[in-house]
């Protein structure tokens, strides 16, 4: 067997998962090939190095907490879907109502501002003095005098 082929099979060989015929061939090769023998030793040393990863700590109340979670989920499942939707839908409705009221109140304020500015505009044209009398000896005065004679 060539080293290139043996290298690919060493992982399964070290796990004891090689078919018996393959195992015999690798056994024989490794005995005579220092490079493959070293690779096999590294594979086994790697497995040992992974020992450092600890297991989880025991969880003494695991079943109790598991049971509580299952019961809580079953309670939710038994609640009619209409009730389950009630709270989020109500919250959304209240939020929308608040938004609408705010919009309306803000809109009334704008209308008041517009009315006020119109009044101001009207007041500012008072300089026209529409009802003052025509000045004497003016063209207007002569015109009205002639118009009165006809």
């Amino acid at each position: 067997m060539k080293c290139r082929d043996v290298e690919k099979m060493l992982s399964a060989y070290s796990d004891g998962e090689s078919p018996s015929e393959t195992k015999a061939l690798i056994d024989s090769h490794v005995q005579s090939c220092e490079s493959c023998r070293r690779l096999l030793e590294e594979t086994r040393a790697l497995s040992k190095a992974l020992d450092v990863l600890p297991a989880a700590k025991a969880s003494p109340f695991f079943y109790t907490r598991l049971k509580s979670r299952i019961q809580a989920e079953e309670r939710i499942q038994r609640t009619p879907w209409t009730e389950r939707l009630l709270i989020p839908v109500s919250a959304a409705a209240i939020a929308l109502l608040g938004f609408w009221l705010g919009t309306v109140a803000g809109g009334n304020g704008d209308a008041a501002k517009q009315e006020n500015s119109s009044l101001n505009a009207a007041a500012s044209t008072s300089y026209l003095d529409t009802f003052d009398s025509v000045p004497s000896a003016s063209f207007g005065d002569v015109y009205f005098a002639l118009a009165g004679q006809e």
Partner: protein
């Protein structure tokens, strides 16, 4: 088989049988989740999710495969989901520790002899190395190295073939031989 008998009783609504199943498999499922997600709190939550899923599917249970294989498959999927969620939320994981991490393969310190690393450092180094593996390679390695499952059971738990498991383990070990070089005498 004990698991089969118990699950048939669970299917009929026997809570005592469900409790027995949990007690039989709790440790190995918790250990697998712990080695996957890296902390006790998350591991316990994920392990509970595994048994909740088993409980919810009790009515459709069929004794065609080993219960442990089914549990391992759920545990792997839920652990992967937890890790992906964590990455999305950008919680601190070893991937984000960068150069402050005690072990950097490119650093001259990576040539330190094994004895110089303290136990805590070695655990951190191994965890980072495992986390850096592609998901399937990591899964195969955890199931083989820590759960000591034969290749056919690993294949069943992962929904793949024995030859694929063999290839995954080969590549995982090839990578780890390089990243864990200082820890291998």
């Amino acid at each position: 088989m004990q698991d089969t008998q118990l699950m048939l009783r669970v299917r009929e609504g026997d809570e005592g049988a469900f409790r027995e199943i949990v007690e039989l498999h709790q440790k190995r499922i918790l250990d697998l989740c712990y080695r996957y997600v890296g902390n006790q709190a998350d591991a316990e939550e994920v392990a509970m999710d595994v048994f909740i899923q088993l409980y919810k599917s009790r009515h459709t249970y069929k004794p065609e495969a080993k219960l442990s294989t089914y549990l391992y498959r759920i545990a792997v999927n839920l652990s992967l989901n937890r890790i992906r969620d964590r990455k999305r939320k950008r919680l601190v994981s070893f991937e984000f520790l960068g150069k402050d991490h005690p072990f950097d393969p490119e650093s001259p310190d990576s040539e330190r002899p094994d004895a110089v690393y303290e136990a805590g450092e070695r655990e951190t180094i191994v965890r980072k190395a495992l986390d850096s593996l592609p998901e399937k390679q990591k899964t195969a390695l955890l199931l083989r190295r820590y759960e000591e499952l034969p290749y056919d059971e690993i294949a069943a738990a992962m929904g793949t073939s024995v030859s694929a498991v063999e290839a995954l383990l080969f590549r995982a070990r090839e990578t780890l031989r390089k990243t864990l070089k200082p820890l291998i005498p």
